[in-house]
Symmetry: C2
Subunit: 452 residues, 2 copies
């Protein structure tokens, strides 16, 4: 069998890289749990009817069929056909409806799973990747303060990682819609689509686009482009927007209510996590389906990577006729982040295996003494492996060194004491397997930002 080659779009890591990814996943999970989010997992598949409820995403779905399905059925696709989920929101909405009677609302959940998108291979995008989502969903109603709480949980979770600082950019659907309608533009979605192109084509071309696509006058287009230029972390954002609205003769209760929410959000956030949350009225992505706050998150110094965590407030995650479930949610693109961290060597693991100690084997006849020493260390929570063969000690030390294992343990022979060697310093001392402790920093692999 020839050496296999990687599949484009399906990232995999060597053991040391997986330690980094696992550290990211563990850290996110711990922060979410400290905030009382319950973990759930949903199956990887949903019926196509569920996946295509919002039509637009259909192009990215992988559909499944059993290899041994009858030939007639092989190419058939109907509503019951199963597809792999492409995000965690669609399955969560289904889970909430399916289990509504057994869940307590507001329901706080986190969900960390892989998702799949049937991208064309040549796009160079991920086709399999981890997402880490938090949502709070209410039955019928959900108070505004959840829109303040959730980006702060994300800020804390990302802040606990060995990564550059993040900046969470927030906007509010009510501000955008209130302003556009205030200046006389009622096709809000068309305006948003144009504004969303600002980074790509610049303000002049967006102003032209607004006139072509959203029926704006030059003055209306200028107002929208000017709105998108406003950002900040305090009440001055609202003052600027109000001034701009007045200049263009706009007034709207919706705008006022949105501005009050937006200012409350950035000011409350600034008290808890100064400088992390910034109101940025250029954010348009997602405003077509979110109904209140909307969030995007950039890694400072790596803005070109795009948003690593997005989300917002939605008034209807799901509805079964009798009940409607509003929510606020954010989703971290874990694989995109980890791939960048590993690809640019921004973080590293202290070793490639869990073991803090390799127990040497003096001879195969005395392997059981090594196994006993290992068990004694392990009983106190120290990760340990036993050397695979009774090779010369120099070779056994190299075995540890290659894996980054810091300590080699030598069981005493014929009544002699055990000894332990720190192979980094070369220091060796007698030790008792039922009492010895490694320095706490050496017990488990650590993941840290690398210098430079």
């Amino acid at each position: 069998m020839a050496r296999p080659t990687p599949l484009s779009g399906f990232p995999e890591w060597l053991p040391a890289g997986r330690i980094v990814e696992q550290h990211v996943l563990d850290t996110l999970r711990r922060t979410f749990e400290l905030h009382g989010f319950a973990g759930i997992e949903t199956r990887a598949v949903e019926p196509l009817s569920e996946l295509l409820r919002k039509g637009e995403t259909s192009k990215e779905v992988y559909v499944l069929r059993r290899l041994q399905a009858e030939a007639d059925d092989a190419a058939a696709v109907d509503d019951n056909t199963l597809g792999l989920h492409f995000d965690l929101t669609v399955p969560f909405a289904r889970y909430v409806l399916e289990n509504a009677g057994q869940l307590s609302f507001p329901f706080r959940r986190y969900q960390i799973q892989k998702v799949w998108r049937g991208e064309r291979p040549q796009d160079g995008r991920f086709r399999e990747f981890y997402q880490a989502d938090i949502d709070v969903v209410g039955a019928g109603e959900l108070p505004y303060h959840v829109e303040v709480e959730l980006p702060l949980v994300i800020s804390e979770a990302l802040g606990a990682l060995p990564i550059p600082p993040v900046r969470i950019l927030v906007n509010n659907r009510k501000v955008a819609e209130g302003f556009y309608r205030g200046v006389g533009l009622d096709d809000v979605e068309a305006v948003l689509r144009s504004i969303d192109k600002l980074d790509k084509i610049g303000p002049a071309k967006v102003a032209a686009l607004l006139q072509e696509e959203a029926g704006a006058t030059p003055d209306q287009a200028a107002a929208c482009v000017a709105l998108a230029g406003i950002s900040g972390s305090d009440a001055r954002v609202a003052e600027q927007v109000v001034r701009l609205a007045k200049q263009h003769g706009a007034h709207s209760d919706l705008l006022d209510s949105g501005l009050a929410e937006l200012v409350a959000l950035v000011e409350e956030a600034a008290a808890v996590a100064p400088g992390v949350l910034v109101a940025d009225l250029r954010i348009a992505r997602g405003l077509d389906y979110y109904t209140g706050s909307v969030y995007e998150t950039v890694l400072v110094g790596h803005e070109a990577l795009g948003s690593i965590c997005s989300g917002g407030r939605y008034d209807e995650l799901a509805s079964d006729g009798a009940n409607t479930f509003p929510g606020v949610g954010l989703s971290i693109g874990v694989s995109r982040l980890v791939s960048r961290l590993l690809g640019e060597h921004l973080v590293g693991a202290s070793r490639s295996v869990p073991s803090a100690v390799l127990v040497a084997v003096t001879s195969e006849q005395t392997r059981s003494a090594s196994v006993r020493a290992a068990a004694a260390l392990r009983a106190r929570g120290i990760p340990v492996e036993v050397a695979p063969s009774a090779a010369k000690f120099g070779k056994q030390i190299r075995h540890a060194d290659r894996r980054g294992i810091p300590f080699v343990w030598f069981p005493g022979v014929d009544g002699a004491s055990d000894e332990v060697k720190d192979i980094r310093s070369g220091e060796q001392a007698t030790a008792d397997a039922s009492a010895w402790e490694p320095p706490s920093a050496d017990r488990w692999p650590t993941v840290t930002a690398t210098e430079g």
Copy 2:
């Protein structure tokens, strides 16, 4: 949208059930890491050519295609078609070959992931489930002692779970093959296929089958059936086999070498974990591809559930022409186990959310005081959530009670001290959020075996 219904074969749990599953996964992971196994994850998909290398399993594969693939391609299946992995061994073998140059051998890895099997829905089998695998793989060679070590790691991992005790049944390909050839039966696979039916059809019908399918004489058939009846945990197993072989005029060096291994295995295991490992010569499943020890694991009192952990020694996990990679591996069927634990209420979680404390909100105007108290508790690693609304305290206490949250925290108003109430006992006392600690058993949800 109507209330969705579960998909047969794709298990999902409510939050309390997920806490149980997560506890099982965490416990397995911790034990594997204490033994120095490095965690890896492989992508969910493999090319069909890889999945079908052992032809037989083809019936269980789910193949993927992009929903938007051109119609011509929709029904086409070739070697490059992607399928979901149906176990973790095939992807691990591919991973080892792909990364052999960057791995250190012997390579100890664990892998905990979902796998998928395209079973017919009416079979009522799992179509998506968790497996937790450990393997040690060598480059070119792998010493026998790994065959002793791995079932002991599994015994320790399963022993750390709140489940009934397990029994690991072991056999050895060399014993079976050596004995069959010794009595004159060279079609070893045919003999194994018949012996594998013992539990289902009984010894008389197996003896008949051996004559029909493996060309055995009545005496040879009786010898094979008698061999399958031998079990035990010490050297007497070997004595019985040797006596039986003599009765049937059989001698074989392979048999002798297999018996020496099998006895060494159960005796060494008995010294570490008395009563867990039992030699059972009826075990035939897997002996067609394993080359040394083979393992099956039953939950005592739940034997009808079948094996919850199986594996063995294989001389060629993978080969790239230049190198051959022998290994020893075991795979735990986690979902089968968890499904049984939850379905029969054998274990339970102490609550359905991570939170140990609900911080009450006196009024929406003082919510920030509640948020600050929560942050102070959380800073010391206590999972906390803040009440969603400033309802009457009775209602806020019911909110905690419904989720099993043991403590409700009342922030002091107007300079008064904070107070904390254990809602199980009703006891309430003043407390300081920067110092108070819950009893350690209450800090995180616990998972325990239920009475009866």
